[in-house]
């Protein structure tokens, strides 16, 4: 049975196969829907069309109509409407599909076009793949294997152009490799809103460069490296570090702000080499900020915590955990203050949903007050939001906190001064940076569960090391109340337990109902207890995330301003 087409779909024919595509789709995307690949360089789905590489040439035809009567002309041989094929090929990127459009990508003429374009592109190409970082993910390399001729007919001298130009602090340009597709130019203008790139000279001497006195220095400059179909723009940080074909890709989330840009972590044998954006059209399209790409360096940072300590002395993980349990349950309080009266949990907006859920359980068990550390910066209106905690909404969803955190931990400070709180369980948060004074901190017995050293870990009674976001798996809730998951990219530091294991151990030891220490065991419990997560499980979460029902928190004065794909609901306290 033929389904009537929804009104915004039109039928086109790609290589003899009819397919329904949305109106306004260009021919490359229409062919993609028909599982036909049209090779292209300059076209990028998230940028404007420039149509200058000519790689996407295809043959195009339209149904014939009588010029006078506008009646369809039928082909007597087939009984179908005649197709008027255009005498010359068309670029597929710049032609939108119209009803009845016919596309041919597999004819000799199209093949010829591609071969010729490839030969022209390779005329002045330096062919230095052995030293080029793009090798392995280079479109020119890929298309050359399909459409290149294997040897060169060019006997004249090749053009020489500047090599190893520093376009900015993070981007290196090799002009000889540039195929002048202008993707980078368009990106800077349209997405990064920082118009610094352009071409000088003409013909085969055209050269990409920065405008005089300018630099490609914006926080999105590395996206041009991802965009560049060849190895012209390369990342200075990743330069000559590792071949991409050795790297394993793990889907992850950018934790620098509540945008939660989707990322791909590239690692080899437990070492992370780079982070690139992963396409999510509802969150970050195909972009991410440069600042999020260096976060992996925290994994092997010098100040990483690698072993548990008790009052500054190295102890086993088991001993430290026992000491923590003693402190929390009031058995091992400070000698002078006798039995411990008050426990507070300083939780983190950087913890995952699962960790926050377990933290809440622990806090409930101990009747502890819960504070959360707020981190507010300035949003750049693109992919870095004002709220630099990636998972404040996770804390709200799991019930760890009910209201947004105060800017400084003033309430907690007051309680400490009043002597009501003597033990603090810090989830990796630096209490001084969060607003306590040294004097207040000195009155506390702190249990610090974190990845890196800071002012609090230095004075904490018990320090238990935990894993970074690259070494564990979990979920985060971004500013759109989108539940997104990330996977483990590299194995954790030797001897450091997963955060979930540590937390569920504490919960058990404090007498709570034993909950699982793995995502698989924990999620059914979370789904059963948290209403808005009722149908979620880690394994079935789509890679683009799951939008949660945020009605319960609609009135809260979130600090985020507008970013790509996010408009704040006007609330009472919106500041930016």
């Amino acid at each position: 049975m033929i389904q009537p087409l929804p009104s915004d779909l039109i039928t086109v024919n790609v290589d003899g196969q009819d397919i329904a595509v949305p109106k306004g789709t260009n021919m490359i995307e229409a062919a993609r829907l028909a599982r036909v690949e049209v090779p292209h360089y300059c076209y990028h789905p998230k940028l404007t069309i420039s149509g200058n590489c000519r790689m996407c040439l295809v043959e195009m035809g339209l149904p014939a109509v009588d010029p006078a009567t506008k009646a369809p002309l039928m082909d007597p041989a087939t009984g179908k409407q005649k197709i008027n094929w255009m005498p010359r090929p068309t670029i597929a990127c710049a032609t939108n599909a119209s009803p009845g459009l016919h596309i041919r990508t597999n004819t000799a003429a199209v093949q010829d076009c591609r071969n010729s374009v490839t030969e022209f592109l390779l005329i002045n190409h330096p062919l230095d793949c052995p030293i080029c970082d793009q090798a392995g993910e280079c479109k020119l390399q890929e298309h050359s294997t399909a459409y290149g001729r294997g040897y060169s007919r060019f006997v004249e001298q090749k053009n020489v152009k500047p090599k190893r130009t520093q376009l900015g602090p993070r981007v290196t340009l090799d002009d000889e490799r540039c195929i002048l597709c202008s993707r980078c130019v368009r990106f800077s203008k349209e997405i990064a809103q920082d118009d610094v790139l352009g071409f000088i000279d003409r013909g085969s001497y055209s050269t990409l460069t920065c405008y005089p006195g300018k630099q490609l220095a914006n926080n999105y400059s590395l996206n041009t490296v991802d965009l560049c179909p060849v190895g012209a723009l390369t990342s200075t940080d990743f330069r000559f570090k590792m071949r991409v074909w050795f790297l394993k890709q793990t889907p992850s989330i950018d934790c620098e702000s509540s945008v939660g840009a989707n990322t791909e972590v590239w690692s080899r044998e437990g070492v992370i080499y780079r982070i690139t954006p992963r396409q999510n059209d509802a969150v970050n399209d195909t972009w991410m900020a440069d600042s999020g790409r260096v976060l992996f360096k925290e994994v092997s940072a010098a100040d990483r915590l690698s072993g548990a300590t008790l009052n500054g002395a190295q102890v086993t993980q088991g001993k430290a955990l026992q000491a923590a349990v003693d402190l929390l349950s009031g058995r091992g309080g400070r000698a002078e203050s006798g039995a411990v009266k008050g426990v507070a949990v300083v939780s983190s907006g950087r913890s995952t949903v699962e960790e926050q859920f377990l933290t809440r359980k622990i806090a409930d068990k101990l009747n502890a007050t819960v504070a959360l550390v707020s981190r507010v910066g300035v949003g750049d209106k693109i992919l870095v939001s004002a709220d630099r905690n990636p998972n404040i909404r996770g804390a709200l969803v799991t019930g760890l906190i009910r209201a947004l955190p105060e800017q400084k931990l003033t309430a907690l400070g007051a309680a400490i001064d009043a002597g009501q709180i003597q033990v603090v369980l810090s989830m990796g948060e630096d209490l001084i940076a969060a607003g306590l004074t040294e004097a207040q901190q000195a009155k506390l017995a702190v249990i610090y569960l974190g990845t890196h050293q800071n002012a609090t870990s230095a004075v904490a009674s018990v320090v238990i090391p935990t894993l970074t976001v690259f070494e564990k798996a979990g979920t985060l809730v971004n500013q759109q109340f989108r539940l997104q998951k990330f996977a483990r990219a590299v194995p954790g530091l030797a001897g450091v337990s997963d955060d979930l294991v540590t937390l569920s151990y504490l919960l058990n030891a404090l007498g709570g109902t034993p909950l699982g220490a793995t995502l698989g065991a924990l999620w059914p419990v979370i789904a059963a207890e948290v209403k808005v997560l009722a149908h979620a499980t880690y394994d079935t979460l789509p890679s683009t995330g799951l939008l949660l029902d945020s009605a319960s928190w609609a009135g809260l004065p979130f600090v985020e301003g507008e970013t790509l794909h996010f408009k704040p609901v006007a609330g009472p306290g919106v500041t930016s």
């Binding site: 052995p130 030293i131 001298q157 020489v160 330069r239 000559f240 071949r243």
Partner: protein, 179 residues
């Protein structure tokens, strides 16, 4: 199509099997007095034919310069994953090679893994790695069996080719465009 090959029926002599045994005995007896073909190894050494696949080594060009650009193709192609390269930039103290940009910082071949397949030599775009005539190597520890960069160059020596692809590039860059 399947063929059925008819077996010739055995003659009586063949079925007796004794003539065959005697023929065999004759052959072995002949060999008993024939000269030996084995080499007395440590004293006598075999003549290494050209194209022999011995220990993989790194070679220098006739000017004594490193040829490898650490493209890591050999590391990729190596079936037993014997090669381990840490890529890096050309050190600043080699001004005539700075335009090559890339050179290995470290290059290790684990000879306990290498199977002497020669694929690394086959794949190298710079003609920098060659399996030469070295066939005898041994060591007391695993670490000794890993040839590092210095050792690979020591074993490899110089390749007397006159290709100089990178020098030509440099000359072209200095010459500039024709317009």
């Amino acid at each position: 199509m399947a063929y059925v090959v008819e077996r010739k029926p055995l003659t009586l002599a063949e079925r007796l099997y004794l003539p065959q045994i005697f023929a065999g005995l004759r052959i072995t007896l002949k060999h008993l007095f024939a000269p030996n073909v084995t080499l007395q190894y440590p004293e006598e050494r075999p003549v290494i034919p050209s194209g022999y696949r011995g220990v993989p080594t790194l070679v220098r060009d006739p000017q004594g310069r490193e040829k490898c650009v650490s493209c890591q193709l050999c590391e990729f192609v190596c079936p037993p994953k014997a090669i381990r390269i840490t890529p890096g930039s050309v050190p600043a103290d080699q001004p005539d090679r700075l335009h090559i940009e890339k050179a290995p910082q470290a290059f290790e071949i684990d000879m306990l893994r290498c199977i002497y397949c020669g694929l690394c030599q086959e794949v190298c775009p710079e003609e920098a790695i060659f399996l030469q005539n070295q066939y005898s190597l041994s060591g007391y520890t695993r670490a000794e069996m890993v040839n590092d960069k210095a050792r690979l160059y020591e074993l490899g020596g110089t390749l007397p080719d006159q290709h100089y692809k990178w020098d030509k590039k440099k000359a072209a860059a200095e010459h500039g465009n024709t317009h």
